[in-house]
């Protein structure tokens, strides 16, 4: 295999997938990140990474919800507050948004792969609209994607097509909605 260096990868990917843009100030420090624009690009780039460029280890797959400050109603109120506090004193601390940070109403799936021989890491990112976040599954490339995608689906509600059994894994069955979304509001269930 040709000697792979960071710049080497960028040309190969640029040549094969022109629609991939390389984020100049690499978002994750020390990890060159490639922004894919469509599902097929995303799958094609990752397959290229795996087969041609020797990135044979999937570090992790996760998603980020860029909507804005996290909604305080998403948290369970303290079931037994300190009895000495006057009534209603315990208020969940409100998290303010950073005014000059441009949030956007998107999810962003981040996949980090690593190539041990060349000691290189690469991240592939793709933005998904909030309406129906769909993405082809990486199950047939790496079986570890099975549980990592199930967790991302369970906590952030991102559909992965072609996943063998995409259902909740971490949160209990009676939880509706996806907790890690910024606009998640907790529905009072029988255990509160």
């Amino acid at each position: 295999m040709t000697e792979i260096s960071v710049s080497g990868i960028v040309e190969i990917i640029k040549k094969r997938y022109p629609s991939i843009t390389v984020a100049e100030p690499s978002l994750i420090k020390g990890v060159t990140s490639f922004k894919a624009s469509s599902g097929t690009d995303y799958l094609g780039v990752i397959r290229a990474f795996k087969e041609d460029l020797g990135f044979e280890y999937l570090d992790f797959l996760t998603a980020v919800d860029w909507k804005g400050a996290v909604d305080a109603r998403g948290y369970i109120m303290d079931p037994n507050p300190n009895p000495f506090l006057p009534e209603g004193a315990v208020e969940q601390s409100e998290v303010k948004a950073n005014p000059n940070f441009q949030y956007r109403d998107h999810f962003e799936v981040v996949v980090v792969l690593s190539n041990w021989k060349e000691k290189l890491k690469a991240a592939v990112r793709i933005e998904l609209t909030r309406g129906n976040p769909r993405l082809p599954s990486l199950y047939d490339l790496w079986k570890t994607a099975d549980w990592q995608e199930r967790e991302t689906f369970d906590l952030l509600g991102i559909e992965f097509e072609g996943h063998p059994n995409l259902k909740k894994i971490l949160t209990p069955d009676f939880i509706q909605g996806h907790p890690l979304r910024k606009d998640y509001v907790h529905v009072k269930d029988q255990y509160d």
């Binding site: 037994n80 009895p83 000495f84 006057p86 009534e87």
Partner: protein
């Protein structure tokens, strides 16, 4: 949860500020409310140890710590007292025979209307009671001993509080607890068989102890077919185990019962075949004759035990030892009750007194196996060195049995567990063929060299 009555807001500060306690000193009185029942009335003031003794501080020379020295002292005192008592008690066999004679003469002299065999019946009943009590007290002692041995092997203390010294009454306390425990068993159990099973397991062990020669002519009954008698009765308790498994109407205990039946039956074979050379050499099945045959010494000092027969003795000893450990269902062969998915094996649905009978049977089998090992391989009652025979034979028998019981405990706390299929492979493909080879190897001993 009690309904939380929201307390009134704390009162406004008392007008007169409380006297200022000096900054760094705790207020003297510390209200210790009487409400808490003092669990250990005498030991409220726990002594504070200096900061943690590490093994590197304690172990380099343990004789520094007073408790270690006291323990060693007490242990050696016990052993010396035992040998001293044995030295004075001499051979119990002779006075017992005399006692039997006086009993007979007393019956003939002044109880003419009583039939002639009545005295002998009373004598046999007395022997039976003595043997029964040996087994029950052995249960008491062995449970406590196992817990202490396993504790010290794992560098911990074991039971301390119940008895005066080192939790001696721990087993008695457990026994009483098990007596008072409610016998909770499933509704769908076959109640009659459910209570029959423990009896069917325990009674054969009692009967097996008749031919055991506790010392020179101290056996309960000198049966000519002693070995056959023991293996015949021991085979019966398999029935009890399978019955227990089936009667508790629980899928897991049925599996456990069948598994231990398979293990029990398959280990019966090498156990008996490994004795064939010994019986052929000693020329008789009676345990007393086998023990008697091994009296005497080679070259004046080396005891003529079957264990020291150059090749045959060691092989049959090892096979018999492994098979006996398997017979008693103890680690490394305790797949019956300790396998993680069988939960409790055949005695899952037993509690209270029935469970303690299973528990007692296991320890009775350990005692039986140790007695057999001593009689067959270490010439029960024969002193290891000529001049040592000043001590009575039952003392040597007791010492060797304790050693073998220690080995059973030792194996339990060192080895992991076999898997069911590997356990049966080990038996059928290793122990059994080697016991056959052992018989062939023993031919020269039987016919050529009369050792």
């Amino acid at each position: 949860m009690a309904e939380l009555a929201t307390p009134p807001p704390p009162p406004t500060p008392a007008p007169a500020p409380a006297p200022k306690p000096p900054a760094n000193v705790m207020p003297p009185e510390k209200a210790v409310p009487a409400g808490i029942r003092k669990v250990f009335a005498k030991h409220t003031e726990g002594t504070l140890l200096p900061n943690r003794l590490w093994p590197t501080d304690v172990w380099p020379n343990p004789w520094k710590s007073a408790s270690y020295r006291r323990g060693a002292l007490v242990l050696s005192a016990l052993i010396l007292a035992g040998t001293g008592a044995a030295f004075f008690l001499r051979e119990i066999g002779v006075p017992l025979a005399a006692l039997r004679e006086t009993l007979h003469r007393f019956a003939e002299a002044n109880l003419p209307q009583v039939p002639s065999w009545a005295a002998e019946a009373v004598w046999i009943l007395a022997k039976a009671l003595v043997v029964l009590h040996i087994i029950l007290f052995n249960g008491l002692f062995l449970v406590w001993w196992e817990r202490k041995i396993s504790a010290h092997m794992q560098s911990r203390l074991g039971p301390i509080f119940t008895g005066k010294w080192h939790g001696v009454l721990q087993t008695a306390a457990d026994g009483i607890k098990l007596l008072l425990k409610e016998d909770a068993a499933p509704k769908e159990k076959d109640s009659w068989l459910h209570s029959l099973a423990p009896a069917l397991v325990f009674v054969p062990v009692l009967i097996c102890f008749t031919p055991v020669p506790w010392g020179r002519d101290l056996e309960a009954a000198n049966l000519d077919a002693g070995v056959l008698y023991i293996f015949a009765w021991a085979g019966l308790s398999v029935l009890g185990i399978v019955l227990a498994g089936w009667a508790s109407a629980n899928k897991y205990s049925l599996l456990g019962g069948l598994r231990s039946a398979a293990q029990f039956v398959s280990y019966e074979l090498p156990r008996s075949f490994s004795l064939v050379p010994l019986i052929a050499i000693a020329g008789s099945l009676s345990l007393t004759k086998i023990a008697g045959y091994q009296e005497g010494y080679w070259f004046g000092f080396f005891p003529k035990w079957f264990l020291f027969y150059p090749v045959v003795g060691q092989i049959s000893f090892v096979i018999f030892l492994i098979a006996s450990v398997a017979e008693t269902n103890r680690t490394p062969f305790d797949i019956a009750e300790a396998e993680s998915e069988l939960v409790g094996g055949f005695h899952t649905e037993y509690s209270g007194m029935k469970f303690s009978i299973f528990f007692l049977t296991e320890y009775a089998y350990v005692l039986l196996a140790s007695c057999l090992l001593t009689t067959f391989f270490m010439g029960g009652g024969a002193a290891p060195l000529p001049f040592l025979s000043v001590l009575p034979s039952w003392f040597w028998f007791l010492g060797k049995t304790l050693f073998f019981m220690f080995c059973f405990l030792w194996f339990r706390w060192t080895f992991p567990r076999f898997k069911i299929d590997r356990l049966l492979d080990f038996n059928w493909k290793f122990l059994l063929p080697w016991s056959f080879v052992n018989i062939v190897l023993a031919l020269p001993y039987i016919y050529l060299w009369k050792l």
